[in-house]
């Protein structure tokens, strides 16, 4: 049964149960098992089905006693810095793409109105707000003029802002990344 107690000890160590508490539990368990063995009582009568699973037994006992310290966040500074740098690089790339592709140098495609072949000759049009009445066309055409509706968002300006934010952020996060990656002496 010493092996059972030793496996419990290892499990408590793995779970970072404080040494004092783990030692107390191990001592009590060892003493109880030794007394039972001396009286000819099987370990299963004391441990139940846990006798075949010391790790589960040890974990359950420690959990019920609430002596397992909460796990610290697994996110290390290096991971955080890497994630931030990557995210800012993406922001900068999106901003650059918007600046390039939303450039005013690229004119919006013109919309052409297909008129019947008869439109090759001069036609008389009459402007009647809010449209144009093409009386000569056969059949007559009524062209309505309307303002193009935009989103009201200046895409190019947004791209510039994203680009600047991304680049400035990377200028800050990249040194942090190198700092977090460099080996440090532990106390």
């Amino acid at each position: 049964m010493n092996e059972f107690v030793e496996q419990c000890r290892r499990e408590w160590k793995r779970l970072r149960v404080p040494d004092v508490v783990a030692e107390e539990m191990a001592a009590d368990l060892a003493a109880d098992l030794a007394e039972a063995e001396a009286e000819g009582v099987a370990a299963e009568e004391i441990l139940g089905s846990s006798a075949s699973d010391p790790r589960a037994f040890a974990a359950a006992w420690a959990a019920e006693r609430a002596v397992i310290p909460p796990r610290r966040s697994r996110l290390r500074p290096r991971t955080i810095a890497s994630g931030a740098t990557a995210a800012l690089a993406i922001v900068a790339a999106v901003g650059a793409a918007l600046v390039i592709f939303a450039s005013p140098a690229a004119p919006a495609p013109a919309t052409r109105l297909a008129l019947p072949p008869t439109s090759a000759r001069p036609v008389t049009v009459e402007v009647r707000s809010p449209g144009i009445w093409v009386a000569d066309a056969k059949p007559a055409v009524w062209v309505t003029l309307s303002e193009a509706k935009g989103t009201g968002v200046d895409i190019q300006r947004s791209g510039e802002i994203l680009l600047i934010v991304g680049i400035l952020g990377m200028l800050v996060s990249t040194p942090l990344l190198f700092w977090a990656s460099s080996p440090r002496l532990s106390a």
């Binding site: 107390e24 539990m25 001592a27 009590d28 368990l29 003493a31 109880d32 007394e35 039972a36 009568e45 004391i46 441990l47 139940g48 089905s49 846990s50 037994f57 359950a60 006992w61 420690a62 959990a63 019920e64 006693r65 609430a66």
Partner: protein
């Protein structure tokens, strides 16, 4: 037989804490000593688990008080005894157990009468 053992374990799981509080309400005991007292009262097995995690929970919840003392000719042991809160929990739990037992008896009594007739 496996089904029977499984049911017994399930039934015990809900009341084993009350059984432990009962055997230490008047006289403190260490872990194995409690097992012996339960066995002397007819509860020879504690089912799937063991009493240790349950003792840990009772201690955490303040239902038992603990202290270390030398045992008879053996190493120092951790003794448990029911605290005031533990005795109140025992009283409440006993009432719940009896109510549940009576209700179940009322239902299963019908099956028993059916088998006899």
């Amino acid at each position: 037989m496996a089904v029977s053992n499984g049911r017994r374990s399930q039934l015990l799981r809900g009341v084993l804490d009350l059984c432990l509080l009962t055997v230490v309400q008047d006289e403190p005991a260490y872990g194995y000593e409690m097992t012996k007292r339960l066995r002397a009262l007819g509860l020879s097995t504690v089912g799937e688990g063991s009493i240790y995690p349950l003792l840990g929970r009772l201690e955490r919840d303040g239902l038992v008080e603990t202290y270390r003392a030398a045992s008879n000719g053996g190493p120092p042991r951790k003794y448990y005894r029911a605290s005031a809160a533990g005795k109140r929990a025992l009283t409440d739990g006993l009432a719940e157990w009896r109510a549940a037992r009576d209700a179940v008896d009322g239902v299963l009594g019908l099956a028993e009468a059916e088998v006899r007739s």
